[in-house]
């Protein structure tokens, strides 16, 4: 207990000090506290309900929806929105949640949990509810593959945590399949006018996870998400408790059934990923006792803001800057698909090399070959500029994807794009940048915007 008290005082003091210095303090105070007392989080007083959200994509959005809905309905909520989702960050969040006498100040706690860190986090935090939004491939050096992440979560989650799972995800829905946990499922039926997605290179349910048979997808939305059936052993998606039966993007409405009863909710965003996020959050809020009406009311004013996306119209040129999460092939596929779907012709600038990864020896290029870059071979993509150490490798990948060679320019120094880019090639210019190159991207964005403005003046 003495170690905890020392760790607690140091954590509180470090947090306050760093905040006074204008730092985020989302990580370091927790690291110090856990160094002093490895079970530090266990001894902190917790809110009544601990609601955790994990998975590959959508964690932040689901957490934001839960927090907003609970607050709107009068609950006090502790969250790690501005902190890290690893053990150190959770330690900081939980410390923020208590007084100096270690009394908890909140009713509920909504925690985004890094799926790879769940073993360490759930050792000292007992989630009442855990949403697993989905499990996809992420960085192969850290996360290996979804089956491994499923094993990690399965091993970490206590037996009495209620699991809220995506029934359309044949891997994620099998987390703790042999445990005694209560299981609640959500899914999204094929939406009006929605056809099966274009083929993806990645399908992590190429063989049945139970028997190794070759499954049939009666409807495959993307990757391994969809309606799965194994002819060899009969495995299929679990039955859902909360089903999205349709959306109306014009009216901004989402239609759902809960155990057979139909309800209408405001649609927070029409992308399928966000429809999954919304129904995941609704499923948990219903479990907590909120009525569909209360949930609908609280969702009314919520807007999903995408911090990874920036758009500005500069004269005749629309400038878009979009994050590509490095090493993550599924995210890269989603962005490539998005680029293809942007209306009209466009040029693309790829600013992807991560020097940090090269320096510490964890570089790999496998994600180039797992991502569906074939989408960029679309005729609307008039030119692709590729910068960096691996520009020739990306060019080669794009050639194999079907992009004509005369539509590509490679160069080493990313800032040269300012002089190389030809803004007359297409009315939209899209910069795809690696997440960890955010600061450089900001500098580059400014220079490109100035250049586009000058281009507009010259044109006039």
């Amino acid at each position: 207990m003495l170690r905890f008290i020392i760790a607690f005082i140091v954590c509180k003091a470090t947090y306050t000090g760093l905040r006074l210095l204008g730092r985020r303090a989302s990580h370091t105070p927790g690291r110090i506290a856990l160094h002093i007392c490895p079970d530090y989080i266990r001894y902190l007083k917790k809110p009544k309900h601990i609601l955790c959200v994990t998975g590959t994509n959508g964690k932040s959005t689901v957490c934001n929806l839960l927090e907003d809905a609970l607050r709107t309905n009068g609950y006090t909520v502790l969250d790690n929105k501005f902190g890290s989702n690893t053990e150190n960050g959770i330690a900081v969040t939980m410390t923020r949640g208590v007084t100096i006498f270690n009394r908890c100040k909140y009713d509920d706690c909504v925690l985004e949990v890094d799926e790879r860190s769940s073993t360490r986090i759930f050792r000292n935090i007992h989630p009442d509810y855990l949403i697993v939004v989905d499990l996809f491939r992420d960085s192969c050096k850290r996360n290996a593959h979804p089956d491994f992440i499923s094993d990690i979560i399965t091993n970490a989650v206590p037996d009495d945590t209620v699991l809220i799972l995506n029934a359309d995800d044949v891997i994620g829905s099998r987390v703790r399949i042999e445990g005694n946990n209560r299981r609640i499922h959500f899914n999204v039926l094929p939406l009006e006018g929605e056809s099966a997605g274009e083929p993806n290179i990645i399908n992590d349910a190429g063989y049945c996870p139970v028997c190794g048979g070759v499954p049939e997808f009666t409807f495959r939305r993307y990757h391994h998400i969809g309606h799965f059936r194994c002819p060899s052993c009969g495995l299929q998606n679990p039955k859902s408790d909360h089903v999205v039966t349709g959306i109306d993007a014009q009216k901004n409405e989402l239609y759902a059934e809960h155990n057979g009863n139909a309800f209408t909710y405001p649609l927070i965003q029409a992308s399928t990923f966000n429809v999954y996020n919304e129904i995941a959050a609704i499923s948990l809020l219903l479990e907590l006792g909120l009525t569909p009406e209360q949930i609908a009311k609280s969702l009314k004013n919520i807007k999903v803001t995408d911090s990874r996306y920036y758009e500005k119209q500069i004269g005749d040129v629309k400038f878009i800057s979009h994050v590509v999460k490095g090493l993550n092939p599924v995210a890269f596929s989603v962005v490539s698909n998005y680029v293809k779907q942007i209306e009209g012709d466009k040029s693309v600038f790829m600013f992807l090399d991560d020097n940090v990864e090269i320096k510490v020896g964890c570089e790999n290029l496998t994600w180039y070959y797992e991502a569906d870059l074939e989408r960029l071979a679309d005729d609307s993509v008039k030119h692709i500029y590729i910068s960096g150490f691996r520009a020739e490798d990306m060019k080669y990948r794009l050639l194999l994807a079907g992009v004509p060679e005369d539509r590509m320019t490679t160069f080493h120094e990313p800032f040269d794009i300012v002089n190389i880019a030809d803004f007359s090639k297409a009315p939209t210019f899209i910069m795809l940048f690696e997440l960890y190159l955010y600061d450089e991207q900001m500098k580059l964005r400014k220079q490109l915007e100035e250049k586009i403005e000058a281009f507009g003046r010259d044109r006039k």
Binding site: R137, I201, E357
Partner: protein, 240 residues
């Protein structure tokens, strides 16, 4: 020419594109894809090339089960000089056994592998290993990346495939990476290996008697030469 692709639907880490690359390089070849519940084509025929890529640890055990009845046939094909390429953790199936320390860091399991080479694999599921690698094999420089849960131990040096210049070999401290016997080449390198190493790809396929068409060969070679010069530069950090 017949190419057998083993268990393609299970591939990981970009090895999907090794299989695709073989199709692009050998447009006139016949490709036979074997799934987990199929009898391998090589059981009753002699393909010119057999390829298998990286997969999950769960599928790896299924693959061992699927191949076990045909391990003697596979040994015979290796002796006969059939061209075989295993990449990523598909190397693991070749040894005598795979010992696994599971994700809970307590449970240990040992699984029998095909026993085609006198070595074994230790996997530690809570410890991910990764590195970049530069070496020499089959007369060309080979570059790639490794990311895996464990290593192969006790492999006699006579079966080494790539002489490592920078990076980690088949296990920590080893100066040799992969397994080589006659025309069997097995390596933990992902990358994908074939796409990233056009010289090795050409050597492997031509020695199998193929009429090889490396797609956009000039661009493939340029990308390879840039990486090679960088990996050979002693000032370049992060390798090894």
């Amino acid at each position: 020419m017949t190419v057998e692709i083993l268990y393609e639907k299970a591939y990981l880490y970009g090895d999907e594109f090794n299989a695709e690359y073989l199709r692009r390089c050998l447009p006139d070849a016949e490709f036979v894809c074997t799934d987990l519940q199929d009898k391998p084509y090589f059981a009753d025929h002699t393909p010119d090339i057999i390829y298998m890529g990286a997969t999950t640890e769960r599928n790896q055990l299924r693959i061992i089960d699927a191949l076990m009845p045909y391990k003697d046939r596979l040994a015979q094909l290796i002796e006969d000089g059939v061209h075989i390429l295993f990449t990523g953790n598909s190397v693991d199936v070749l040894g005598e056994y795979i010992h696994v320390l599971e994700v809970d860091n307590k449970t240990e399991n040992t699984y029998k592998a095909l026993g085609l080479f006198p070595c074994h694999v230790d996997l530690v599921m809570n410890k991910r290993f990764f590195c970049s690698i530069l070496g020499n094999g089959c007369g060309s420089d080979i570059i790639g990346f490794k990311t895996q849960f464990g290593h192969t131990y006790d492999l006699p040096e006579e079966y080494g495939f790539i002489t490592v210049e920078r990076g980690t070999g088949i296990c920590p401290g080893a100066k040799l990476e992969g397994i080589h016997k006659n025309n069997l080449y097995a390596t933990y390198i992902i990358g994908p290996l074939l796409v990233m190493n056009p010289k090795f790809t050409k050597f492997f396929l031509e020695s199998a008697g193929a009429d090889v068409k490396i797609p956009f060969e000039d661009v493939a070679l340029k990308a390879y030469e840039i990486r090679l010069a960088e990996f050979k530069d002693p000032k370049r950090t992060g390798i090894g």
